[in-house]
Symmetry: C2
Subunit: 201 residues, 2 copies
């Protein structure tokens, strides 16, 4: 059986969401059309509104519909002198939830990946260099992902920061809190050993 | 950190999809806004179009944007004299994928559930009764779910069919093909025993 065209089209569109295949998309489409048409209309409007208005923050490049995001607008955070470099807006959210970081961010929206044709200017490193020159930055915290590309990107930025005599740190990698040693992969465990700290009591 | 309003609103709307929580909704929103704005626009348009046009088939009550769905329009299927009663449009899809059933459907869009205030007319049983009276139906196949409500609904429809001297059958319940006895629940296994058939060689 073929679904009727409007439903088929909706299912195809839902399949473009990450993690949604044919079955989930059908389930979503039927749910919205059978039980939640107001929700479907709201989703349609939100999507349209977001696509039309959301762009990048002029300072940190994160997603926002304003010229500057709420963090870059906060003067105390701008003047803190600490800049945290992350790969995606989702990373900003995750770090904000710890409530531990009071500086500002720079969001690369990706990582260096020469094989895919992603060079320094594609992830805004030219813009970052301008900020290193003009803004009063004392420390750069590199919070890119601990992957090959994330590490390479971190190295590149550290080299750049060196030219402007800015202190560079990298977030710690090791055994997750609550994790069990037996289930941690060997690279992480290697990091945990090489990054060990003096035991304090 | 609060997300900017347009993104926050999009995340809230995405959370209305079944099986999507805060984290998945954020991931979907960031994915669409960072990497697939055309997909987001297409989804928005498909939702709007589907909400505006999709209604119920006048004959079988399934979801369609036309007066009659493609199955009800098929004369050979209409004239087959076999009517399969299912709970949802997704069930129709599942049965169609077997390519074994050549009759037509009646989609209840739910099941009898007196505690939730769902009575016979809410699931279109008045309409079904009209069809039993006027159409030339020889057999009703009850394919409602093997749950308490689905079974109760099947019993109700079987009683109704009796009044019009229409033969009623229920799909078989038993051990799924490829399943292992040890992992099958006891009710299913009970059904498999009581529904056993003569072994043919």
């Amino acid at each position: 059986m073929k679904l009727s065209p409007a439903i088929e089209q909706l299912v195809e569109s839902l399949k473009r969401l990450p993690g949604v295949g044919q079955k989930s998309a059908q389930r979503m489409a039927f749910h919205l059309l059978e039980r939640d048409k107001p929700g479907a209309s709201r989703l349609s409007d939100s999507l349209k509104h977001a696509v039309e208005t959301v762009g990048h923050c002029n300072s940190c490049r994160t997603l926002t519909e304003n010229d500057l995001c709420s963090i870059c607008l906060d003067e105390r955070r701008r003047d803190s002198g600490v800049l945290c470099v992350v790969e995606t807006p989702a990373d900003v959210l995750a770090i904000e939830q710890t409530s531990q970081f009071k500086g500002r961010y720079f969001v690369l929206m990706g990582h260096l990946s020469p094989l895919d044709g992603v060079g320094p200017s594609d992830i805004g490193l030219d813009k970052l260099e301008q900020q290193l020159q003009s803004d009063n930055i004392e420390e750069i915290i590199l919070a890119t992902n601990p992957t090959v590309e994330g590490d390479a990107t971190a190295h590149y930025i550290a080299d750049m920061a060196d030219q402007y005599n800015i202190n560079t740190t990298r977030i710690a990698h090791g055994v997750p809190v609550g994790g069990e040693l037996g289930y941690v992969d060997q690279t992480t465990l290697g990091h945990a050993f090489s990054g060990r700290k003096q035991f304090t009591r």
